[in-house]
Symmetry: C2
Subunit: 406 residues, 2 copies
């Protein structure tokens, strides 16, 4: 439909026709930076700053009363409902809570009781936390834990256990076919806990229509919720009543202020709330979601993939290998390239205002957050990369210095 | 040593001699409010506001680089070390992470593997979350869960299992003898997970000296970390290497950015980190702790108890029954009174600028945060209560209207 821009002039034309273009103004972005790390930490939307300021004022002026008067008490649920609209879920099917790690644990534990086989499966190239959590849960529950070869999930569903599976691989950006996996899972009494960390806010997810029942995801990537912003839990309304949260805290109780010694879960996903949510961070997330309000997720997905396709075409012209699928339909919001000298190249790019990230040993990731990036910006970033590689300007001592995190 | 003030003049003298008096200036407090709910949500220290503003600026300007350049990556550990100094622990023995609910689960699960008996015990009048978490963990792990009568912990240690026990009861403020419990636990191969939520920042805790090995606590009460501020985990350096976190996330990994498929825990309490911490909320907490920096915890504890003793003496003169122990040494930072018409009384107090909290059916709690309260303020609050009760001014329709949370 829309061919990849072949020149800067064509990139400019695409920007002029971009239906998301005006959303860039909703962000606080530093001057002179092309930020291609939105897949790791999104930049601050102005709404995040505003809601945080309001939460701070509520803390100072309303004090403990703000749990009521400022609506803190159901902020996790209300924010969950806004998030539900972004992933193809119904109101009540999403609650904001804890971290992805903790939420995967809760969901996988609850799923074990609803699967034909008491076993956990994770592919060996999944994000490490997903593997650690499966191991931790296996150790505590006695469930068998099996590590699958990359791409082995579909076959493993036949065993009828619980699989933790990313919808978008954190390294390659390869997309899983949620609907096909869910059909196969239901055929064999298996349950899938989807990790939506690299998918939410960038793909046009249709969890309900695709038959997904259980998912967790982070909110600090394409949702721009802030560093370490609280994560979310999705549970289908059909399955929720059958599920027990293994970490039942008072915030998941039907009547938290009755201080009942016995646990009675709230309806829907809210039963997966545990302790008191971090309101200041949660307020930032709730404001950040305003940047996506009313956006057509199909347009969001299309633009992310178009920017990725542009980057891949330019990389191919530079003779670089891609870890990411070339076909748009199989790719999430980021593109990973193999660059043996990746670490200093990323530093050299940063020196020119182009931020990307490096994953050892040789992967450079570029994230294409569609709300604030432009086609021209990505075109110019590709120019910068081409110049750095051609001139070998990355081979300077200051670009080799290592920081703790990249 | 210091008798309870018998007049407003004597209260003024105590304020004049108060070594903590100047710390009040470290808080943002609304005019005309005597805030006796610091045991539920502490007010914002100025340091919290400053650190949050800095974290927001780091997010906007440094973007993802701020994990390194602004020190976010080890903020949970550094904040843990500052907290360690407030509870009689060593550096490395405390990490800030998750919520109290999640942390109690992690610690109790780890403790089960180190106890003589695979069983969990919780007293029936413990904070409900502590009971729910024990039930959830029992369901998942197969550990027996036994509910104890109030005060039954000491006897139950003979069974050699794992007990979750508050250091200060959330309702009565009764203090547990940590050292005596730990001696008995060690005699029988039992392990105690202390819930320090109502103790931290108000009692002069000596966890190491008292032989405590495992604890979790919240930071939004007497530590004033902000609504839902992240909680903490304490693990003694001696026990830590033997413990496995059942929710091992990448933040607890020895080399999180190696993205290793196998889990290798960090040393000390840091192995109990799971997912990415909510940095904005964590920054607020880290700034909030500045209000306690350099404070003598013995003075903090003494002032909290002196304010409580003043309130109890005035309550006794009003003919009110106390749920809280009268002897200072057995009481934490709050005082609970039985007032059958407690709900409207609390509203009538609020109308005069005195904030307290109500717990159904008939308990009114007054929290004595020693950093920002004055003897005179408590004296005047007692006057207000006496007038409200004597005049029955609480019996007006507006004071009976119910909010969701009190």
């Amino acid at each position: 439909m829309n061919p990849v821009p072949n020149s800067r002039a064509e990139a400019l034309q695409r920007d002029a026709a971009d239906p998301l273009a005006q959303r860039r103004a909703l962000f606080d972005l530093p001057e002179g930076v092309t930020y291609l790390v939105g897949h790791s930490l999104g930049p601050p939307p102005k709404g995040a700053r505003e809601r945080m300021a309001a939460a701070q004022a509520d803390w100072a002026q309303g004090l403990v009363r703000s749990w009521n008067t400022a609506g803190w008490i159901d902020l996790a649920e209300r924010t969950g409902d806004r998030l539900a609209a972004l992933i193809g879920a119904e109101p009540g099917e999403v609650i904001v809570a804890d971290s992805v790690s903790v939420n995967l644990f809760k969901l996988a534990a609850a799923a074990l009781a609803q699967a034909r086989t008491y076993a956990l499966f994770v592919e060996e190239d999944e994000f490490p936390t997903d593997q650690y959590i499966a191991a931790g849960l296996g150790g505590l529950s006695g469930a068998e834990v099996r590590r699958l070869p990359a791409g082995g999930t579909f076959e493993a569903l036949k065993a009828g256990g619980v699989v933790i599976r990313s919808a978008v691989n954190y390294r390659s950006a390869e997309v899983a076919d949620i609907a096909a996996h869910e059909r196969e899972a239901k055929r064999h009494g298996a349950r899938i806990v989807w990790d939506l960390s690299h998918a939410t806010g960038v793909l046009d997810l249709k969890l309900g229509a695709d038959g997904a029942e259980l998912a967790a995801g982070c909110t600090y990537k394409y949702l721009n919720g802030g560093p370490g912003a609280p994560a979310f839990v999705y549970v289908s309304n059909a399955l929720a009543p059958k599920l027990a949260n293994p970490l039942p805290g008072w915030m998941g109780h039907a009547a938290p202020f009755a201080f009942d010694a016995n646990y009675a879960p709230r309806g829907g996903a809210a039963r997966f709330a545990s302790g008191t949510p971090p309101i200041l961070s949660l307020a930032a997330l709730s404001g950040a979601l305003e940047a996506l309000e009313g956006a057509d997720l199909a347009q969001v997905q299309a633009k992310a993939r178009a920017l990725g396709a542009l980057a891949l075409a330019r990389a191919q012209a530079m003779g670089l290998d891609a870890l990411s699928p070339l076909g748009d339909a199989r790719r999430g919001g980021h593109v990973s390239l193999r660059i043996p000298e990746g670490y200093p190249v990323v530093q050299a790019l940063a020196a020119r205002g182009v931020m990307a990230d490096f994953r050892a040993p040789d992967t450079v990731r570029f994230g294409f957050s569609p709300l604030f990036l432009t086609y021209t910006g990505v075109w110019d970033a590709a120019d910068a990369l081409a110049e750095i590689l051609a001139s070998k300007s990355w081979d300077q001592p200051q670009f080799h210095a290592r920081a703790k995190v990249t």
